[in-house]
Symmetry: C2
Subunit: 449 residues, 2 copies
């Protein structure tokens, strides 16, 4: 049995490694257009920030590691066509430009996602970057170390992590983005708190321009300035595009594989596509949102890892199901944590719920402890069922701990009353005697009475 | 309507304040033998350690705060008898030694717990302490600042917190205890890890003597030395007894109030005792263990707070139920966190389960992050039902966060397979891409297959 895996960052590398362990006698072959396999994309901003020196630390397993295990790895090979009828792939060696075909018995598509690149003048100038691969990370870090000013387009998770990295490396940054507040994945009230913190933290070095975008980029060989749609002219040495990513579905779509309404590859809970013997996993596939009970596309490394594992078990002939995601996510900007799980209020409305929310601001530990910090929690439940829909947690204190308390509650579809019965660990260095999340739950219950 | 509350640290003060808010026209009267009401007992070790200077910071509400709200507070008044037939109390003013009676319409018993004091020679010498009240804390801190050596009897939660405090204040400490490992509330394998850490952390200053206890204490007016049962003679300036606490049930028991099999006052989920119009809450009452589905006595400030609230609602004529506890707890020794929720393996056996456990040791964040630390998690499930029974988490890394992820899962009685579907927040500064608790769940599932 011969299994081809296309792409091998998180999902693909996990699937290949797991499958080879389950079926040591099968041929498992990876093709990737990348220079590397099995690495932590999520760690790239911290490499750029200087948290560690060697980008190779981000690599979990090298092609040589895979070869030792018996998995063949072909880096710098682009799979450009899938022919399900013949169970055949058209592949291009990116180093030699030679095209060749390869057959498979079973296929795993783990093509990931790519940064959204606007079709504007000057986009191909030197020092215009996107961040996805290790090479991207190294290029951006080199540019940061050699320059004084950067423009970041888009300020979601990756944008804000890059902002921290750039500030830490001592360059000044203009953040430009189309929404009217940064981190707009959070509800407006919480995003406002984030934006206020970011502005206050590095007043001199950081400038945030909302409700705008890059119209075009000017320069001879390298970027020299950008012009915004609102006719702002900003001199800069480099531009990073972090205004969203999109799933890499083209070869799947061309092969007749069904694409879900979110625009990513549709799979069932066994990671099977609509075509027999073709599986898909990772950032290129649509996910099922457990709270919304509807499809979603939330591409994350942790999810990709689990999907890769599930995919391998099913490909191997076993049985496993990936139930879906809760939308849990976390990042930080210096000491300020931003985290969420489940649905935000605005997502809840979009999905047809009638959300009721509370916001509490509370100490993260006993008020008399010297390192006490405050956190803000927004907790949301459905008006009709009183089931918890989600929570968002922010602050210099330990916010993500509280958000994670809620994940199992969302998984088991608890009402706010049921959750209030929770027994969360308490001791003065760790919490208030009534945990902030339970205070939020109590306040929310009061809204229902 | 006149409601008397006996005792007012966590549960009693919460009950009184909440009841007065619910029924502003009722007479709500607190009697306590203590000098203070409404304070954080759990914060005392941190006061002794010097985390903050003023012990008054531990006070949440003063008697004056209560008086402003309309709650009468009588400090230094000991309620010595309850006469349910006459709805009358016998009370002694501890300042004047005058005895008097007082009637009630409804009574709330929140008498708390007291340290276990062994009946040994020398126990009444100066510088022999227990830690429960703010005055205890001030006395111990003064003694620590004036002396060079202490003996701590018993090394559970309070013992280890005092050990940290004493070490921080620069005195040397002998810890003596009857079990063969410190922190024996944890399973043996994890307690061994804790003990190893404590010994390595302050090799010179800390000596741990297991399998022994104090036989008697010698000295003229003040402690000069202790003699252990194994005939060790240890010179010391002070002794702190932290070898357990027991619920204060005497006046309740004398009044015919039912005592549960754990030795604490038996209440139903509405905090009612077996006698009409007499309620009880806090450390003096037995709790229901949600995982074990049996009574337990786990006295904690966070639980006391919730019970006080529930009690007030029911006393006021409303309806509320306190469902029980999970046994969640946390403490730390310097940067080493110790936490648990649900049942340990040995508790699980005691309660009649057939526990299956795994232990995983894993990074608490991405391995390339500069502040990565390791944590050890022991996860336990029942062999027959595969339901999760509990977890223990240790280490210099972020262990309690993982333990708290499990609390909602225990509350909803998830199987290990159901829990494995969880979606925990991930980002390199916060976690590994597969969270340590999910790795533990995966390893445990493999044990069942």
């Amino acid at each position: 049995m011969k299994v081809i895996v296309i792409g091998a960052v998180a999902a693909g590398s996990k699937a290949a490694a797991k499958l080879k362990r389950l079926q040591p006698n099968w041929d498992v072959i990876i093709y990737t257009s990348d220079y590397n396999v099995s690495y932590s994309e999520c760690g790239l901003p911290y490499y750029i920030a200087g948290a560690f020196k060697d980008a190779q630390k981000l690599i979990i397993r090298t092609p040589q590691d895979f070869e030792k295990q018996g998995v063949k790895v072909h880096i710098r090979h682009l799979v450009s066509e899938i022919h399900p009828d013949k169970k055949e792939l058209l592949i291009k060696n990116l180093e030699t430009d030679i095209l060749f075909t390869e057959t498979y018995d079973k296929l795993i598509i783990a093509t990931g996602a790519s940064p959204f690149i606007p079709n504007i003048q000057g986009i191909n100038l030197q020092n215009v970057f996107t961040l996805r691969t290790i090479e991207d990370g190294i290029s951006i870090k080199n540019a940061v170390l050699q320059n004084k000013h950067a423009v970041i387009l888009g300020c979601g998770y990756i944008g804000i992590e890059l902002l921290e990295a750039f500030v830490k490396q001592g360059i000044s940054v203009n953040v430009i983005q189309s929404s009217d507040v940064i981190m707009s994945v959070f509800d407006r009230d919480l995003a406002n708190i984030i934006q206020k913190y970011v502005i206050q933290k590095n007043l001199e070095q950081v400038r945030i321009i909302n409700n705008d975008t890059i119209s075009h980029i000017e320069g001879k060989e390298k970027v020299e300035k950008i012009i915004t749609e609102n006719d702002k002219e900003i001199k800069t040495d480099m531009v990073v595009l972090s205004a969203g990513i999109k799933p890499n579905i083209q070869i799947a779509q061309n092969a007749g594989i069904e694409i879900g309404k979110t625009g990513a590859i549709k799979v069932n809970s066994k990671m099977e596509t609509n075509i027999k013997d073709i599986y898909a996993c990772g950032d290129c596939v649509e996910k099922y949102h457990i709270v919304a009970e509807q499809p979603c596309w939330i591409p994350l490394g942790s999810t990709a890892n689990k999907e890769g594992r599930c995919c391998a078990i099913n490909v191997s002939g076993g049985h496993d199901e990936f139930e879906g995601v809760l939308g849990s996510a976390v990042t930080k900007y210096f000491d300020f944590t931003m985290s969420m799980t489940g649905l935000t209020e605005k997502q809840a409305i979009k999905y047809g719920f009638q959300p009721v929310s509370v916001i509490v601001r509370k100490n993260d530990k006993a008020g008399y402890m010297p390192d006490v910090e405050s956190i803000t929690i927004k907790l949301t439940a459905d008006k009709n069922t009183r089931k918890i829909l989600g929570a968002q947690g922010l602050g210099q204190g330990d916010a993500d701990k509280r958000i994670n308390v809620l994940t199992s509650a969302l998984l088991s579809k608890m009402t706010i009353q049921e959750f209030f019965g929770n027994d969360i660990t308490y001791s003065p260095p760790f919490s208030t005697s009534i945990d902030p999340m339970l205070t939020a739950a109590q306040n929310l219950m009061n809204k229902f009475n």
